[in-house]
């Protein structure tokens, strides 16, 4: 009886020792994992799809001064591409190539200049010919940034009065700044 009791006690002690082994063996470097869970980030950018131009009765070109590209995304984005092309019978030509004083009336050519940011220091993109322009880089917008977009155009005088006739389109392509 006494022997059995002793044996059981020994067994109990041994089991305690064995269960404590991991703790007793915890020496040296410890690795504590940091888990990251990422939900799909919000990609949200607001861009203008209309850049209206008015030719006044005196032949002056007027454009809007409130266009902008706005980044509502979870991080910075970049404008990676800008397409400019004439539509409905119009052609884009190099900006600066139309002599407004002597260009033939009713010529369906239009040239565009886009200025992103400050009008003196911002990024300038000019049309360079048929459906092409000189945009070659990327324009960055920080998170929650609003980038002003000024633009200018050259259009020869037209004898027919138009109301919101689409003569060209500009497509901005944006993506994450990675």
């Amino acid at each position: 009886m006494k022997t059995n009791f002793k044996f059981l006690s020994l067994l109990l002690v041994l089991s305690m020792l064995l269960s404590a082994t991991p703790v007793m063996a915890a020496e040296g470097d410890q690795t504590v994992p940091v888990d990251l869970t990422v939900e799909a980030p919000i990609f949200s950018v607001t861009v203008p799809i209309a850049l209206p131009i008015t030719i006044t009765e005196q032949g002056e070109i007027l454009t809007s001064d409130t266009a902008a590209v706005i980044n509502n995304s979870a991080g910075p984005v970049v404008i990676t591409d800008i397409q400019t092309k004439g539509i409905n019978g119009w052609e884009t030509v190099a900006f600066g190539s139309i002599d407004m004083a002597s260009a033939k009336v009713n010529t369906k050519n239009v040239s565009l200049q886009l200025i992103f940011g400050d009008k003196d220091t911002g990024t300038i993109v000019n049309t360079t010919g048929a459906n092409s322009n000189d945009f070659a880089g990327s324009i960055r917008l920080a998170k929650n940034a609003s980038l002003p977009l000024l633009y200018d155009a050259e259009v020869p005088a037209q004898t027919t009065a138009y109301e919101s006739a689409q003569i060209a389109e500009v497509i901005f392509t944006v993506g994450w700044d990675e």
Binding site: F43, S44, I49, A67, V174
Partner: protein, 220 residues
Amino acid sequence: MQKQTLNNPFANIHLPQQFSGQQQVQQQQPQQVQYQQQYQPVQPQQPEQTKEKKKKSKKKYLLLLLLLLLIPLFKGVFIGDNPMPIPGINWDKNQSLGDLTGKSKEEIVAALNEKVQEGMINISMNTNPIFETGTSLGTLMITNSASNRYPQLIEIFTKDDNALVYSGAVDIGNKVEQSTLLVDLPKGDYECIAYFSAINPETGEKLGTAGANIKITVLN
């Protein structure tokens, strides 16, 4: 001795009254009176005299007005909207005063600014949608924000071969959480451009387009 009357050469000469002494005295008196009268305060005019004067000035003004009205007659035409009839001339009844100056520069720019605001488009989607297979639903998470003015047509093209792999329209304020592709893409990653076009809700005409760089992942 008799007084002899001296021969007065001026005996028969009678001076004019104004030079005679007595008469001078006499005349001084009326002059004095007149002098006094000059500095007497002016007596106010009688009411009848005022009325007369007013009538006369009224007549003058009427005459002047009449003359002014008659001047254009001699020029041949009235200043105003209603020309005087001239034999052989047919005046356009739709004419009105003024020249064609139109809107001011500020008004035109304000109208252009309004058009730009109406044409702003918000594009939003998951830039890395994942598809279990080429035919399963994928996490596109396209949103046409309630702040947009137009429904949107979303078209996704692969960059390498410009293949259209997705096309769908989303109404204002709606979202597409998951959807399927048009093409059964094999397993892999595909660099694509998603074009968001604002469309006329009545005709479906594209009003403007913006693009977003995305990557489609097909797991199996």
